[in-house]
């Protein structure tokens, strides 16, 4: 049924395309029609070049007809967060600073998607330069949670999660520096995976905090998430932090029913909403009933994660965002003067308040006389957190917590309280600090709002995380769920 195409999984769409009962053009036309009625309500996309999408769809259909299909993603649209470069497409990072920028080159993941035959489908809204947890920091537009349009979708990959929950696209790419894939996935009831640091090339991902950033797949089911992960993952000599061909073998999933699951001590106490705790506890009970070994683990330095993150991430960001000065590209202030005055004015005008706050914080923690007290100490704390996580993961396969302490809040509710907003990422940040893979899996509702649980595994244990998610998903009704719009 053509009118239900937007509800189908990427895997199912792929099967229909392969069977010849569906063309990529028909699929893209249906999604464009959906976009025209739904995107204004949700605000997930900031840009969609419909003619380009249909041209890509026709090319895909022609390839398939010629017997040159490129695999399971052939003809499937994938929407992309607006901080990942696609040649000829805007690369705004939802910032006034880059509002006019069109990327002259493809990111590694864009190349991978083209090589897989996927349709590079539009640009997704985000918090400016991926700094935020609600997508309210976008300078382009607001994005709303499809399950409750008065609420935020989470962030910073809010557009990526909302587009899935609204049936605008079957697959999307997000980026995750402290939880920016997993937190919106949890709030929008979809699956979001942050891979092991180094699994996916960052070439073409606009840097926020280079040592923490990873691109990751987002989807409405574990199967689709894995499909997209497999397409993205490959060695890339253009990113020195990306694993080489011989270093990227994933640990085999094994039998999900035999997974050893660790529950970090005290994590369900800290300001976790009762409905969230109940949904996560139900998931734990499910795994126990399946035969998994559940144990409590100690992570004594976990409380250091949020302060450590806001030192490391802002320090790197203050340097990474230095290049936006109006000289070569991006916003240039109309007020002339010396080159340095022009740079100062361009930055003052081009950046929003949260970005400025983080640049100032990062500049401070790196400055002479303070770097030892803040930045250097934060690096020590980070090493300690990583050591504790690796130690815990030597005894269990995965660590299970809520993804976010509370369900999606109302638009504007926390806008004036950045510290409160920073706590949204309390469960997700450690995986970034430790470079570990982590996934958010939908596990129920708090009222009408989705709730997800969060799994963290050892480096390169993505297959285990997906297997655990698949076991849960198969027994519950949360896969492919979409909000009624």
């Amino acid at each position: 049924m053509a009118d239900a195409l937007h509800t189908l999984s990427a895997a199912e769409l792929g099967r229909r395309l392969a069977a010849g009962t569906l063309t990529s053009r028909a699929l893209c036309e249906a999604l464009i029609a959906r976009y025209q009625t739904v995107n204004d309500k949700v605000g997930a996309f900031t840009h969609l070049d419909q003619a380009d999408v249909l041209a890509q769809a026709d090319a895909s259909d022609a390839r398939r007809k010629a017997g040159q299909g490129r695999g399971p993603l052939e003809g499937i649209p994938v929407a992309i967060k607006d901080n990942i470069a696609v040649k000829g497409q805007p690369l705004t990072c939802s910032s006034k600073m880059l509002a006019s920028l069109v990327s002259p080159y493809d990111s590694h993941v864009a190349e991978r998607l083209r090589a897989a035959g996927a349709i590079l489908y539009g640009r997704l809204n985000m918090d400016e330069f991926a700094m935020g947890s609600s997508t309210e920091n976008s300078a382009i537009r607001k994005t709303f949670n499809p399950w409750d349009l008065a609420r935020i979708p989470g962030g910073s990959s809010g557009g990526s999660a909302a587009a899935l929950a609204a049936g605008l696209v079957p697959l999307s790419l997000g980026s995750d520096t402290g939880g920016s894939i997993r937190q919106p996935a949890s709030h929008c009831g979809v699956v979001g995976l942050k891979p092991t640091y180094g699994l996916i090339s960052r070439f073409g991902l606009v840097a926020f905090a280079s040592s923490l950033d990873q691109i990751g797949p987002m989807a409405r089911s574990i199967e689709d998430c894995e499909l997209l992960l497999n397409a993205l993952s490959s060695a890339d000599a253009r990113d020195m932090t990306c694993f080489g061909p011989s270093d990227r073998g994933l640990t085999p999933a094994g039998d999900a029913k035999k997974l050893r699951i660790g529950i970090p001590k005290g994590f369900l106490g800290k300001g976790v909403a009762p409905e969230v705790a109940a949904a996560v506890n139900a998931a734990v009970d499910f795994y126990r009933a399946q035969g998994c070994a559940i144990s409590e683990v100690e992570l004594p330095s976990a409380d250091l994660a949020v302060p450590t993150y806001y030192v490391v991430a802002t320090a790197e960001a203050s340097s990474n965002l230095g290049r936006y000065d109006g000289v070569r590209y991006g916003h240039r202030s109309a007020s002339a003067g010396t080159p340095v005055e022009m740079m100062t004015a361009s930055r003052s005008e081009g950046f929003g308040p949260e970005v400025k706050r983080r640049i100032l914080l990062g500049t401070f923690v790196l400055s002479a006389g303070y770097a030892d007290a803040y930045y250097v100490r934060a690096l020590r704390a980070r090493a300690k957190i990583r050591a504790e996580y690796l130690s815990a993961l030597a005894g269990v396969d995965v660590l299970l917590t809520p993804t976010v302490p509370t369900p999606a809040f109302k638009v504007g509710e926390k806008a004036s309280d950045p510290l409160q907003l920073y706590l949204e990422d309390i469960f997700t940040i450690p995986a970034n600090l430790a470079g570990l893979p982590a996934i958010s899996v939908p596990c129920g509702k708090s009222g009408h709002l989705p709730v997800g649980f969060h799994l963290v595994g050892a480096p390169l244990s993505e297959a285990k995380l997906l297997a655990a998610g698949r076991l849960f998903e198969a027994a519950h009704g949360f896969a492919h769920q979409q909000a009624a719009l």
Partner: protein, 501 residues
């Protein structure tokens, strides 16, 4: 003028920035070179476009390690890069990738030779310690045009090795000698081309003074961005005199960064300590710590050429070359190697070969190919041996003909000129021109006796016999005339003395 008054001692440390000889830029695959249109040699990485990442150029790292091996430094197991943050339009990312904590070269020393009392006397040798050398990226060039500013990023990202000395230099002459020696080592190892006109070598010069015998260093000033050996020398002289003047007037030296105006031959203050930048250094998260394998070091060690002064000592001590010729040959590795091939072809007279190479060959090559303009304006113009019409074995052949008495030294010059023109072997030219000397003793004896018998020379014979040595020369002209100038002059002299005795 170059030596400070005896009561004061000047202490100099140099930071030498050298563009490495590589195909690609240091963190990008974009090529680089001189004389391109502005912003022709850029790519998304060089321009710091959003999402781009640096990738360390292996060739640049290996050239840096090679430099370390040339100066006998220890090559560390690891090196890493840091970000130096500052805002300026010529800096595409507004941070520069450099090595603050773990540089690629640690330690080492450079042997220098000070000028001797005259050109043919070797001066004192000294060793200048290297503190470290780090591999970083060059920045672009900002220029001002009318009401606006223009920026060219061709130079941005060019690999730059910053070589930092210990404060071991004690005079402008030592600073000059150090730079000469360093340039020779860098170019002979193929690490860098050091072409000043192309801005491939720039120098920051730290100068302080102290009373002789005092150990504690004085407050230093740093003069930035000197682009020739003469401006380094002039800066040292100027800055030494200025600091002595200040201290002797009872004032103190301010720690400051200075510039140098070569046209006015004057230094000026750029900024003082209070205005110093806070560069907010931190380890670059995009470049993991680089492991330097011992296999790589061993492979590069094989590329280290013979040290300049080791070669000079060998030429003088083992080959018996005069210092003047040896010092000319060792400055140019290709020329020295050319010389050694010739010596291998005719091992009994290295000095004869050296003199022809250092004088005649160099002069003719310079006239036909040379272009002036290295960092060292005083150095001879570099020559290209690639286009040299004479092969080393051919030159050896010429020297052998002379040594064997086949032609005279005077004829050898003539033959050399012809060889440089035509590229022919010496023997062929000698034959074609009929230059081969007549050394047939029997035939020459007959001619000598005929000339002695000629009454026209009786007066000269009488004078010679009376003790006037020079009078014998009057008999040589007629002999040469009868032999069309081919008589072996040494043989004639012997015969004349025999018959007149």
């Amino acid at each position: 003028m170059s030596t400070p008054p005896s009561d004061w001692e000047v202490v100099i440390g140099l930071e030498v920035h050298v563009q490495l000889h590589t195909r690609a830029k240091v963190f990008a695959s974009s090529p680089w070179g001189f004389g391109k249109e502005p912003n022709e040699q850029v790519d998304p990485v060089v321009l710091g476009l959003p999402g781009t990442l640096p990738v360390v150029n292996r060739e640049a790292v290996e050239k840096s390690i090679l430099f370390g091996l040339v100066v006998g430094a220890s090559v560390p197991e690891h090196c890493s890069w840091d970000r130096k943050n500052y805002f300026y339009p010529d800096n595409p990312k507004n941070y520069q990738l450099t090595q603050k904590d773990f540089p690629v070269v640690v330690g080492g020393q450079v042997e220098i030779e000070l000028p001797g009392a005259s050109r043919n006397v070797m001066g004192e040798h000294k060793f200048i310690r290297i503190h470290h050398a780090h591999l970083e990226e060059d920045v672009g060039k900002l220029s001002h045009a009318g009401s606006g500013s223009l920026v060219d990023y061709n130079r941005a990202g060019v690999p730059l090795l910053e070589i930092v000395t210990e404060p071991d230099l004690r005079s402008s002459a030592e600073a000059e000698a150090f730079l000469r020696s360093l340039v020779a080592m860098l170019t002979q190892a193929g690490v860098a081309d050091c072409d000043m006109e192309k801005g491939q070598l720039r120098c920051d010069c730290n100068v302080s003074i102290r009373r002789r015998g005092v150990e504690k260093l004085g407050t230093r000033t740093e003069t930035k961005n000197l682009n020739s050996i003469s401006s380094v020398r002039d800066t040292v002289i100027y800055e030494t005199a200025r600091q002595i003047r200040e201290l002797e007037a009872g004032r103190s030296i301010t720690q400051e960064t200075r510039g140098w105006n070569a046209e006015l031959a004057r230094g000026y203050v750029l900024r003082d300590k209070e205005d110093a930048h806070d560069y907010r250094y931190f380890p670059d998260p995009d470049i993991p710590t680089l492991k330097i394998s011992r296999e790589t070091v061993a492979r590069l060690a094989k590329q280290v050429p013979e040290n300049l002064y080791d070669r000079q000592r060998r030429y003088v001590e083992k080959l018996g070359l005069p210092y003047t010729a040896a010092s000319v040959l060792v400055n140019d590795r290709a020329l020295a190697e050319w010389f050694e091939i010739a010596v291998a072809a005719h091992p009994t007279n290295p000095s004869g070969i050296a003199n022809l190479v250092a004088n005649d060959l160099l002069r003719d090559l310079a006239a036909s190919t040379g272009t002036a303009g290295a960092f060292d304006e005083a150095a001879p113009a570099p020559v290209s041996l690639a286009s040299c019409p004479i092969k080393p074995a051919q030159l050896a052949g010429l020297v052998k003909l002379t040594d064997d008495g086949v032609i005279s030294k005077q004829q050898a010059k003539e033959v050399f000129t012809e060889m440089f023109k035509s590229g022919q072997d010496a023997a062929a030219i000698v034959d074609a021109k009929g230059l081969r000397q007549n050394s047939d003793t029997g035939e020459l004896e007959k001619i000598v006796q005929e000339v002695i018998a000629d009454p026209a020379v009786a007066k000269s014979i009488a004078e010679y016999r009376a003790g006037n040595e020079k009078a014998i020369n009057a008999l040589k002209g007629p002999i040469m005339k009868r032999t069309q100038g081919k008589a072996n002059p040494v043989l004639i002299d012997q015969l004349l003395r025999k018959f007149l005795a």
